[in-house]
């Protein structure tokens, strides 16, 4: 990932101070202090985000883009002010390229659903990878079913890296779309998307990047990547649920037909013909998640105040410590050992089932995810029922990693 010069680092990273800003971290679970290591599923929310949503509802709530009254104007301004925030965060050329969605899943569905209406033809190929989340598989399968296109899959090696040679070989004259995850949710692998995009573009193929797991852990710059589409969710980057962004190059948004119809996305409606609003509003039917979008803005402001490289260094310490300690324990299979990976450690104590281990770890206050992480094809490839996944965020500490290891040790003793 390339540096994004648009971020303003104004705060020094102080772990204790950061932790004090996330109220939920002070909870106790089964009489132990909570160790929250399920950040790849969703992150916790800082006070600034909670306060922003609260004050929106208390003092600013009105429907956006509708009324001439003051409150509606203020709500519209607050809502629309998040578009340039997201533009800067993602490094987009224009705020017109920022479409607010319910999250990554809706963003992928928006693109796949819209392109299924006229873009994909019978026999076209949609190229995915073997480490995609189900939400970057199923929308394309639906588009393929509707159009007669076919889904092809780039294989993953045993370390959890994409086979780039196979990718290049699969890119062919029938390829009409590449959809790839930036950072794998189950393995933490950082995929070489910049190279993959360049390869696809050399064949005239557009690329969608699922950035859900990437944005909280490193700088993203969509212009530098040159991706055609980039999808993200607010809740994985310290913002509220039900909100996210589709970044799409302006030319694509102009070209694509609307995804859903309704209020706010039209400029004129008669029963004979409807003309659509300009981009990005063409893709935002209905009353949007105003509090969510405004909360997302606050979350991005929160994260952007730090030097992202400082956060990366901190998270990389956590991953290194966790990996080392798990290796030290012995009898633990590490799943996903890519050379480039982010804040995820996926593992499985030999002979144990992830459900059992996670259930016992919970009794010690340690929250990890167990299961196939919505990447069933990948787990099938590894021949395992799933893994335990510890995923870190900026507020996790080395002490918490020790608590994780201790809980694994105790769970193993209990279950063996």
């Amino acid at each position: 990932m390339q540096p994004a010069p648009s971020r303003l680092a104004t705060r020094t990273f102080d772990l204790d101070e950061v932790r004090s800003e996330f109220p939920v971290l002070s909870r106790r679970i089964h009489d132990h202090p909570l160790v929250y290591l399920d950040n790849a599923a969703t992150t916790q929310k800082p006070l600034t985000v909670l306060d922003r949503i609260d004050s929106y509802y208390r003092t600013e709530n009105a429907n956006v883009h509708r009324g001439v009254h003051t409150l509606s104007q203020e709500a519209t301004d607050a809502y629309e002010s998040v578009r340039p925030v997201m533009q800067r965060f993602l490094g987009a050329a224009s705020s017109r390229e920022i479409v607010f969605t319910k999250g990554t899943t809706e963003a992928v569905n928006l693109v796949a659903g819209s392109l299924a209406r006229g873009y994909f033809k019978k026999g076209d190929e949609i190229l995915l990878t073997g480490m995609e989340h189900h939400s970057n598989i199923v929308p394309w399968q639906l588009a393929a079913e509707a159009t007669g296109a076919v889904v092809k899959v780039v294989p993953v090696n045993d370390r959890g890296e994409l086979d780039l040679g196979a990718y290049q070989a699969l890119l062919g004259p029938r390829t009409r779309m590449v959809a790839v995850v930036h950072v794998s949710n189950s393995l933490g692998t950082i995929n070489p998307v910049r190279q993959m995009i360049a390869d696809a573009h050399s064949m005239g193929v557009p690329v969608l990047v699922d950035g859900a797991q990437a944005v909280a852990h490193g700088p993203v710059n969509v212009q530098d990547l040159d991706c055609d589409f980039y999808c993200m969710s607010a809740h994985k980057v310290f913002g509220p649920t039900g909100t996210g962004v589709l970044y799409a190059k302006e030319e694509w948004l102009e070209r694509m037909p609307p995804y859903q119809g309704g209020g706010d996305m039209i400029s004129a409606v008669t029963f004979e013909h409807t003309t659509y609003h300009e981009i990005p509003h063409k893709f935002e039917a209905g009353t949007p998640n105003m509090a969510g979008v405004i909360g997302m803005g606050a979350a991005i402001d929160y994260l952007s105040a730090f030097d992202i490289e400082e956060i990366q260094r901190h998270e990389s310490q956590l991953v290194t410590h966790a990996t080392g300690e798990l290796e030290e324990l012995g009898g633990v299979r590490l799943v996903g050992t890519a050379a480039h990976k982010t804040a995820v450690v996926s593992f499985l104590p030999e002979g144990l089932h992830p459900y059992d281990v996670a259930t016992v770890m919970d009794r010690f206050g340690v929250a990890v995810r167990s299961g196939h992480h919505c990447t069933q094809p990948l787990m099938d490839q590894y021949g395992i029922p799933g893994t335990l996944r510890a995923s870190f965020a900026l507020y996790n500490s080395l002490d918490e990693v020790d608590r994780l290891i201790d809980a694994v040790r105790k769970a193993r003793k209990f279950l063996s």
Partner: protein, 143 residues
């Protein structure tokens, strides 16, 4: 366990057993022991058709009518805590009249602090397993 006990009587027996333990470790150890005592699933049933695929763990469940009008369950899971719950369900529901199985509410799991494992949101296959057990029972009750 007595063969003639009702679902409620067997459930009460389970609850009494679990009340002997005053911490979660004891309860879970006892649960895992229950799973170990579960009769082995016949190979014929270890098949896709009898599998309930959860995203956390998987469960197999099959049912047969007995010659005295009750229902016999066979079940298993790949996770040992899930298998423990499976064993409790089989223990309580096995060899009961199909109509009684179809109508039971399984509240005893709440009383032993294991209810959360049965939550549909837990996705361990148990919730779907119970639905299948009841479907089998309803089908047998109506024949």
């Amino acid at each position: 366990m007595t063969a003639t006990a009702t679902i409620e009587e067997r459930a009460d027996e389970v609850v009494e057993e679990f009340e002997l333990f005053d911490d979660w470790m004891g309860r879970y150890e006892h649960l895992i022991e229950q799973g170990k005592a579960l009769p082995a699933l016949p190979d014929a049933y270890r098949d896709e058709a009898y599998k309930v695929r959860g995203c956390q763990s998987q469960v197999w469940v099959a049912a047969e009518p007995t010659d005295h009008g009750t229902i016999q369950f066979w079940a298993d899971s790949d996770a040992i805590i899930t298998r423990g719950i499976v064993a409790l369900l089989v223990r309580v529901l096995n060899d009961q009249p199909p109509a009684a199985v179809a109508g039971t509410d399984l509240a005893f799991l709440d009383r032993i602090g294991m209810k959360e494992h049965l939550s549909p949101t837990r996705k361990n296959g148990l919730d779907a397993m119970v639905r299948r057990m009841k479907l089998y029972a309803e089908a047998l009750a109506s024949t």
